[in-house]
């Protein structure tokens, strides 16, 4: 009996202990779980911070778009090959970062024909904001966005007839008004948006690896210098004049043939000038020099009058340095890569004219058009064109034939003879 009792007693004690254990376990369980969730939260925060710091560290070191101002290490990140197709994204960031005193605005004739230099100004304070194929609507967005973000002392605006064409009006791939607004908004919004596009994106990380690979292959080269594309003019073509002939045919039979100006584009250009005035930025206007063969194409395509109207419209906004007529530079094909893209040496000359506001002694290159002298200058330019056509009857004939027949082979045969292989 007593044994039984004892044993029962034992069982009771066991049961009690078990119940106590369970109660204790139950009481401890939520606390234990709470601890687990706390571990999760601490781990999450630490790992997230680690990931973000790692990402920024990597992206800012490689800096594939060259917008953070980090060092360029030969063989590692010197050759920023990805800048080429993304200029609509990174140029505004680099511009904002550099805060230049002089800025060139314009299309490819700026982007890869015009080094970022201005006599009398430190090179580090000059920036090339050229955007390939930028027409006036798009340029006006960038111009306003850039000037809102930072006001340089001088904005040199290089213009082309085609920028005013009615064919071009939608911004190109890569343009983002939101980006321009954010950069112009405040340093904080600019930082966040720049981070978003150049750090916090798989695409940007991928571009970093591209840059590292390209830099390894070309440890001695750089792609852009303060916005200037140094690579395009170094490109080797099939034959020395191949690109020249190809572009002459293409522009002559398609682009210039279809050209008609859009009045809205002139209005937008007026808005650009108003914006600059409002923000106290001095604007230097000039017209890029295309090769004289293109000027013949204007004439053959019956666009010479439109070219004159274009110039008349520009001078309404102030004096314009016009390099786009038959002159010492535009007559010589050796100054050009193709009829619309001149060599950097040419731009150095016209930049000198722009900076001093005086023509170069002994060189017929540049006429300062004003409201007062425009008609006289246009007559002079027409005479120069007629002289050129008289001296080069084959060119005019070749362009007349191409316009009529659009026969590329016939054009090529004539062009090889007249222009060179």
């Amino acid at each position: 009996m007593s044994k039984k009792k004892k044993s029962k007693g034992k069982t009771d004690t066991k049961t009690d202990t078990k119940t106590e254990d369970r109660t204790q376990q139950k009481a401890e369980a939520p606390e234990k779980k709470r601890k687990i969730w706390k571990i999760f939260l601490v781990a999450f925060v630490l790992l997230l911070v680690l990931a973000v710091v790692g990402l920024y560290g990597f992206q800012l070191t490689v800096d594939p778009f060259g917008v953070w101002g980090g060092p360029q290490i030969a063989g590692f990140n010197n050759y920023k090959s990805v800048q080429d197709k993304n200029e609509r994204m990174w140029k505004i960031y680099e511009y904002y970062h550099l805060e230049p005193d002089v800025v060139f605005f314009g299309s490819s004739r700026i982007n890869y024909c015009t080094p970022a230099k201005w006599p009398g100004v430190q090179d580090e304070k000059v920036f090339n904001f050229g955007l390939n194929a930028a027409h006036i609507p798009e340029e006006s967005y960038y111009f306003a966005g850039a000037l809102e973000a930072h006001q340089p002392e001088i904005a040199a605006v290089g213009l082309d007839l085609l920028q005013f064409s009615a064919i071009y009006n939608n911004p190109h791939e890569g343009y983002s008004q939101e980006r321009l607004d954010m950069v112009a908004g405040s340093p904080l919004t600019a930082f966040f948006y720049k981070s978003r596009e150049t750090v916090l994106s798989f695409d940007a990380i991928e571009r970093s690896f591209d840059v590292m690979e390209a830099s390894e292959e070309r440890p001695d080269d750089v792609y852009h210098i303060r916005g200037w594309d140094t690579q395009r003019l170094q490109r080797k073509w099939k034959t020395p004049r191949w690109k020249f002939r190809q572009q002459l045919f293409r522009y002559h039979t398609r682009t210039y043939r279809r050209y008609r100006p859009a009045s809205e584009n002139f209005d937008m250009f007026g808005d650009m000038m108003d914006k600059a005035e409002e923000l106290g930025v001095k604007v230097v206007l000039y017209i890029h020099p295309v090769h004289a063969d293109f000027l013949v194409s204007y004439d053959v395509n019956r666009k010479w009058k439109l070219n004159e109207q274009f110039k008349r419209a520009l001078v309404k906004h102030g004096p314009v340095w016009d390099f786009n007529y038959v002159n010492d530079i535009s007559r010589d094909r050796d100054n050009y890569q193709d009829p619309s893209h001149f060599l950097a040496a040419v731009s150095e000359k016209f930049v000198e004219v722009l900076a001093t506001d005086e023509p170069i002694d002994g060189l017929d290159f540049g006429m300062k058009l004003t409201r007062d002298n425009i008609e006289e200058a246009l007559v002079e330019q027409r005479e120069a064109l007629d002289d050129y056509m008289e001296q080069n009857p084959g060119i005019r004939q070749m362009l007349e034939d191409a316009r009529r027949t659009k026969d590329r082979n016939a054009f090529n045969r004539a062009a090889v003879r007249l222009i060179g292989r």
């Binding site: 779980k33 709470r34 781990a43 790992l47 973000v52 194929a133 916090l200 798989f202 695409d203």
Partner: protein
């Protein structure tokens, strides 16, 4: 404002959360609740500020009407009818006017000018929630509550624009002092995890599939056999990962503010029949349709024929709820047929003592659901028909060998249309069938391995954020 936007993730959410925590830390539960309501209206107004007036008017009307409906013992049906009618009129005007007039014009040739009416975001969701509230007020199933509680029940930003469709009985009790006040590491952890998973599903999976879908459904050419199936299957996964991802994010956001939202998806593509599918897909909509449409119509209480009629009516209206177009009605109709067939087959096989193999049931259900998505996604009946024709091979079959050879010769990776895509789609199918639900993962797995869970959440979140910005390049061809 979308959950997968920078302004939401890095500005709105942190600011609101910090203010909410500050207020609840100072034991200002009402203030915290008010803050959430105001923040929700700001969230809504970000898209189109004037429509805040509409949602506010709707909230005030339904709150007052609900109170009036709930008063006294006698509850005349006309009061309810007016309340529901006002809500339906509002949604009918904004969502269905154009559709109605288009059809009147098509039938009568009347040539009535179709007005351009902007559809307020989330109107289908907040209208349905409030109709349910009015019905329950009429039934005497609601309790006393403040205007702010009610306002928050309708406008609570995590569920405002894309659901889940919440029920007042599950939401209002959560908007009380103690619940709002406490900081729960569990809730926070669940919130972060679900937000990360949802964001990843939306950005990295659904958005990646989007161009594949668009190529077939928005393209001009009639898709051939393989393209049509790739497009359809891609959409089948896109809509699941998009919608369930958004629901996960909504749940996660709810948890961050100590509010538990109902689960909306439970691995729907594992369903072995249509009935099960609707128990797993957009569960809160199914619940609403069942409680406030199917059952009031008589449900299955009035015999088998009436049951099928009720099912069809419910699904047709459910289809129309999704969008004002015949394609949506047809989609609903197809699902109605699937449900009738599932019920009918269930009865028949039960009588015959026959059991459908699960694999067969799953395959039929999956293909049926995918087929119905064609009508849901297509922008017109003509386009839907073109895709359906493609799926059965009526538009021809691609010469895969030639395409591959051509692509290889030209080095054009983009023109390899199917191999990689099939692999991705197969992987997604495995994910849908094998991996646990987001909320199962968040609730159970992470408790067992918190550090690994945190690492996964960080990877998913960071990947999703990195995937949110795509760089578009400009290829220069000169003027």
């Amino acid at each position: 404002m979308l959950f997968n936007s920078y302004v939401f993730l890095f500005l709105f959410l942190p600011v609101v959360w910090i203010l909410f925590r500050a207020l609840s830390g100072f034991k200002l539960a009402r203030g915290a609740m008010g803050l959430l309501a105001v923040a929700s209206l700001v969230f809504y107004s970000y898209w189109n500020p004037p429509f805040v007036a509409l949602i506010l008017a709707s909230v005030v009307f339904n709150f007052c009407w609900g109170r009036w409906l709930g008063r006294g013992d006698r509850k005349p049906r006309w009061k309810l009818a007016i309340g529901v009618g006002v809500n339906l009129a509002s949604i009918a005007y904004f969502k269905y006017t154009g559709f109605l007039l288009e059809n009147v014009n098509a039938l009568t040739g009347a040539g009535i000018e179709i007005p351009e009416i902007f559809l307020p975001l989330g109107i289908s969701f907040f209208t349905f929630q409030q109709i349910a509230y009015l019905v329950d007020c009429h039934r005497g199933l609601t309790k006393e509550h403040s205007f702010w509680q009610y306002c928050l029940f309708v406008t609570f930003f995590p569920q405002l624009i894309a659901g889940p469709i919440v029920h007042h009985s599950e939401m209002m009790p959560q908007f009380v002092g103690d619940n709002i006040r406490r900081i729960s590491p569990r809730m926070l952890s669940l919130g972060i995890t679900l937000l990360a998973i949802g964001l990843f599903k939306k950005v990295m999976i659904a958005d990646t599939l989007s161009p594949w879908v668009a190529a077939v459904f928005d393209g001009q050419a009639d898709p051939q056999l393989i393209a049509a199936w790739v497009g359809t299957l891609a959409y089948t996964f896109q809509i699941y990962f998009d919608f369930s991802g958004y629901s996960d994010m909504a749940m996660g956001l709810g948890y961050l503010f100590n509010v538990e939202l109902p689960v909306n998806f439970a691995s729907p593509y594992r369903a072995t029949n249509a009935v099960e599918f609707w128990r797993r897909w957009h569960m809160t909509l199914s619940r609403f349709l069942r409680d406030y449409l199917y059952i009031p119509l008589g449900g299955n209480r009035k015999g088998p024929v009436r049951r099928y009629v009720n099912l069809m009516a419910t699904m047709l209206l459910g289809g129309l709820w999704h969008g004002a177009a015949w394609t949506f009605v047809l989609w609903g109709g197809l699902h109605g047929l699937y449900l009738c067939a599932a019920h009918g087959w269930g009865k028949l096989s039960e009588k015959a003592g026959f059991r459908t193999p699960r694999v067969v049931g799953w395959l039929l259900t999956f293909v049926g659901v995918a087929f119905a998505w064609v009508f849901f996604r297509a922008t017109s009946m003509e386009r839907a028909w073109a895709v359906v024709k493609g799926m059965v091979g009526a538009n021809g079959v691609e010469d895969v060998g030639a395409t591959l050879a051509n692509a290889e010769n030209n080095g054009i990776v983009e023109s390899l249309p199917f191999d990689e895509r099939f692999a991705v789609l197969a992987l997604l199918l495995v994910v849908c069938l094998v991996l646990p639900n987001s909320w199962t993962w968040a609730r159970e797995k992470i408790e067992r391995m918190p550090v690994l869970g945190a690492a996964c959440a960080v990877i998913l979140f960071v990947s999703a954020v990195l995937g949110m910005t795509r760089i578009s390049e400009f290829l220069y061809f000169q003027f």
